[in-house]
Each structure stands twice: as structure tokens, then as C-alpha cells.
Point group: none
Chain length 85, copies 4
DNA sequence: ACACAAAGTTCGCGTC
DNA sequence: GACGCGAACTTTGTGT
């Protein structure tokens, strides 16, 4: 990495390129999502409610995962498991 | 949409499913990006600096686009271009 | 606000002072919370689990509020209420 | 703590209650701070700049404390002070 | 103004 | 007991 004239620069370029590529794809998806909402609105759905439904479903899933986690945590605390794999 | 017993529900399901699918993909990309940063860190790069580089490049690109836009605008104003189709 | 030599400066001082005062109090509370965790650890409790319990309880409360909200939203959407007050 | 049927549960309840109480107060303060910013904005101040001012002042204070600490350290090392407190 | 997403900072733990 | 790592919390910026 101290070799600033050599391999490090190539590595840096590669890293930046990969990140930019991924971020670009992410932006595309964000756009797609917006379009779905817009289309739904065109079909008479209320975007605000749609967003809330999506959010609620995400929360419910998160809650489920969280509960599993805490169960695992307790089981470990009680010595019922040795290590998380 | 008032037809709550029929097609609207199917539509709603479809919309929510599409959004959730896209958001999931977006999450995957966010994870991938984090992994690239983590890998870079493992190779001795400073994540904070990497983020700054990426941010700067995005800004520069935005500025370049901005300039192109303004240039186009002027050229149109001067009658040097016809309207873009 | 353009009157930089006069009232605006006093206002600015007052604003900054109020914020700093509040942040100081906030920091004190954060310290207190840490101390409770530390004390609990001294009594054989697992900090990680404690944090998770607290988080979970907060989520559950948030979920309850969220559901009420969405209920209201639907009722409005169905024309059962006129305006949110 | 292994006495899950007895005192530990009371202790746990007490711990969680204390934390939740403190966090609630902390939330109130956070809200108050936001309100001060909002009010300032209403009086024509730029929130972003205000935040920067507050941040800078905090840094400066931290630096001052740091210097005092180092000074104390040196003075101790030179035997110019006895141990504090 | 509110909620979401991203970034930065801090904290707790395992290791040496 | 100090240091680094990984995770959690906080804060900042953005979009609706």
C-alpha cells in the first residue's frame, strides 16, 4: 500500500470502479421502485398508504427476526448452546 | 379500487410484491458495497478516504452534467441547435 | 438577520447557548444509562441481552403505534373520517 | 442471577425500568433541541450552519480539556504536582 | 415536517 | 490492560 506508484493504484481504481458500478445499480432500483409507486397511483392507489403497508410488513419481519435472535441469545446465556455457528 | 373484494386486491398484492422484490435487491447491493469497502480495508485502504473519493467523483460528475446542460441551454437560446427529440 | 451588528448576534448567542445546555443534559443522561448497564453487568446480567430487551420493547411499542396509524389511514381512505385533527 | 424464579427477575425489571425512564428523558431533550433549531430556522438562521457552529465549539472545548490534561500529566512527571485528589 | 437511508462515532468484547 | 475488531447507536442528509 505504500507502493503508491504500482499495484496499489490499480487496486484503488478497481475498488472505486466496483463501488460506483454497484451504486449505479442501486440508483436504478430506486428509480424502478418510484415507478411502481407512480404506476400504482395511476391505478387509483394511495401512495401514502402503500408506503405504510410496505413499511409495516418490513417491521413485522424485522420483529420476527429480532425475536429469534433474542431467543438464541437466551439459549446461549443459559448454556443450552455452545457456540453460534 | 373500491371493488375491495375483487381485482383491486390482486393488484395490491402484485404492487407490494414488486416493491418488496426491488427493495430486497437494493438491500443486496447495499450489502455488496459494504463488502467491497470491508475488503478494501483488509487490503490496507482507509474506508473513510475511499468514501470521500467516491463522493468527490460523484460531485464532479454532477457538475459536468450540469455544465453540459447549461451549454445546451445556451446553444438552444442562440439557435445553434434544434430542439432535442 | 442581515443586521449582523445588532440583534441577530444576540439571538445567535442565545440559540447556541440553549442548544449547548440541552446537549449537556443529554450527555449526562447518556452517562447515567451507561452506568445502569455497567452496574447491571456487575450484578451478573449480560449487557448485550439487556440492550436487546430494551430495544425489543421499544419496537413493540412502535409497532403498536404504527398499527393505530395505519388503521386511521384506512378509515380516512374509506371515507369514515373527514380530516385528521 | 441463576435464581430465575426470584430476586433476579425483580432486579431485571428494575434495571429495564430505570433505563427506559432515562431514555425517555433523553428523547425529550432531543426533541427540545430539534425545536430550538426549528425555531431558529423560523428566525432566518441556517440550521446547517448552526450545527456546524455547535460542533466546532464542542471540538474546541474538547481540545482545551485535552491540553489541560497533558499539562497536568507533564507537571506530574516533573514532580511539580502531587497526585490529584 | 416527517420518515428513510447513509455516514460517522462510540461502545463492548476478544486478543495479545 | 491496551488495542483492534465488529456491532450498535447517534447523527446528518435526502426525498416525499
Amino acid at each position: 500500500m505504500a507502493d503508491t506508484g504500482g499495484i496499489a493504484q490499480d487496486q484503488l481504481r478497481s475498488i472505486v470502479a466496483r463501488i460506483e458500478r454497484l451504486e449505479e445499480e442501486k440508483t436504478v432500483l430506486a428509480t424502478d421502485i418510484k415507478e411502481v409507486y407512480a404506476e400504482a397511483k395511476g391505478n387509483g392507489f394511495d401512495i401514502k398508504i402503500l408506503r405504510k403497508i410496505v413499511r409495516l410488513r418490513k417491521q413485522e419481519q424485522a420483529e420476527r427476526l429480532e425475536e429469534e435472535e433474542i431467543t438464541d441469545l437466551y439459549m446461549h446465556a443459559l448454556g443450552m448452546l455452545t457456540t453460534p455457528e
